[in-house]
């Protein structure tokens, strides 16, 4: 623990240290107020120290001294600058103590430099010029025994651009949204499991079609057969509809790929129109009716 005061020569170059602040870095007020817990007292600190600190950016701490509450305010920014000026850093500070906490220890003044000491004046630890002491030879050395029981920490987020309250509100909103997304994702995950279960059951009921490749292949084979055979039957049906006493088949050839039909046809326009209508609705392609002959050919695939 290092006693930190304005004229301190230099801070040691070690990764972490605790500091006890001299009254040069804080303002203090003793108050006898009827509160039980330090949290309650801390909430009152800004209003109690308002006149002394006069700045909303001050950091407030509170501790009990007998029946009274001790309210302290210090400027973290100024403390940070002072630490840096002595070759230190606020990041290296572990715990903060205030000289006032070790008031009993300062009954014997502690030397700060040739001109000043820390001593208790009017029941408060104060920086006193050495020449005002009655006995300037009886001075104590600052050591580990000055360490009080209660310690304070540097306020977290001291360089943040947003306040803890704003951070909490934003984090709460983002957290709620995050939970909502996770919940929805979990619901989808369950739905995926259910869908996979149903598919597995369907495949188990049809083992011959369980393989994706085999299923695709069998499905395609039967779809091709169905399309082809339906086309063949549709053409046969259409040709049958065209047959009459004046329209007779001369020749018909049909295989899986295509067909060709030649028929005797009437020559009157009314019958020709009727044949064309039947051919069109029946899917007969490349229809040619002339000189008493009807011819059509096309694909069946």
């Amino acid at each position: 623990m290092i006693l930190f005061y304005r004229d301190l020569a230099e801070l040691p170059d070690i990764p972490r240290y605790d500091i006890m602040l001299s009254p040069q870095f804080y303002v203090i007020k003793h108050e006898d107020i009827p509160v039980k817990y330090s949290m309650q007292a801390k909430k009152l600190a800004p209003s109690i120290l308002d006149e002394l600190s006069g700045d909303e950016t001050m950091t407030h701490e509170v501790f009990q001294d007998g029946d009274k509450w001790v309210f302290i305010a210090y400027d973290l920014k100024k403390l940070t600058e002072a630490l840096e000026a002595k070759g230190g850093s606020i990041d290296r500070v572990g715990r903060i103590y205030f000289a006032e906490q070790a008031k009993e220890k300062f009954d014997i003044p502690v030397k700060l430099n040739d001109r000043e000491v820390l001593a208790v004046v009017n029941d408060t630890v104060t920086v006193v010029p050495t020449h005002l002491l009655e006995n300037s030879d009886n001075l104590a050395e600052f050591d580990a025994s000055f360490r009080p029981d209660k310690s304070f920490r540097v306020q977290r987020g001291y360089s943040s651009y947003i306040s803890p309250k704003q951070a909490m509100i934003a984090a709460a909103i983002l957290g709620v949204l995050g939970v909502a997304y996770f919940a929805e994702g979990y619901r989808y995950q369950n739905a995926v499991t259910q869908a996979e279960g149903k598919l597995d059951q369907l495949l188990a009921d049809n083992p011959s079609l369980s393989g994706a490749y085999a299923r695709e292949s069998i499905y395609k084979k039967f779809m091709d057969i169905d399309t082809q055979q339906r086309n063949i039957r549709d053409r046969i049906k259409s040709i049958s509809r065209m047959i009459s006493s004046k329209t007779k088949i001369n020749s018909l050839y049909m295989d899986k790929k295509g067909y060709k039909v030649i028929m005797d046809a009437p020559t009157d326009p009314k019958s020709i129109k009727s044949l064309r209508t039947i051919a069109k609705s029946g899917g007969l392609e490349n229809l040619d009716i002339k000189a008493g002959k009807l011819e059509s050919h096309g694909s069946l695939q």
């Binding site: 869908a195 994706a212 039967f222 055979q229 049958s240 088949i249």
Partner: protein
């Protein structure tokens, strides 16, 4: 550093949590889409394949095919070759009515018509057909 910008870090952690949730939801959503689409496709293929199999690979066709021979007088049948799952027929001297009747019968059976030839000479028709099932 962590203590210094703790408030921003809290927001950052919450944002990362949100981002994680968002990505998880998105990945599960796309997994569900793909799973549903796969299931739908497989179910459609299985149902349709079974239906088509019933139509185009039905058993008991052999008997129905054999009955075709009885629909025409023997003198009209030049060839009626039925082997295992193949049928090869050649009908001759068919009247228009007989041609219509036999072609309707053939088309009504779930046979795979592979080749069909009809030729007319005068008032008579000749018909050849190769089928399988």
């Amino acid at each position: 550093m962590i203590r210094k910008y703790q408030n921003e870090l809290i927001v950052l952690v919450a944002f990362l949590f949100l981002l994680g949730g968002f990505l998880y939801q998105k990945s599960m959503s796309s997994a569900l889409d793909s799973s549903l689409s796969l299931s739908k496709k497989a179910a459609k293929q299985i149902t349709e394949t079974k239906t088509l199999q019933k139509v185009w690979a039905s058993k008991g066709l052999k008997q129905q095919v054999a009955q075709l021979r009885d629909t025409l007088p023997p003198m009209r049948i030049k060839k009626f070759d039925q082997q295992k799952n193949k049928l090869n027929v050649h009908f001759i001297d068919l009247t228009g009515q007989e041609l219509n009747m036999i072609s309707t019968k053939l088309a009504s059976l779930p046979l795979h018509i592979e080749k069909l030839t009809i030729n007319r000479a005068g008032d008579k028709y000749e018909m050849e057909c190769e089928c399988s099932w």
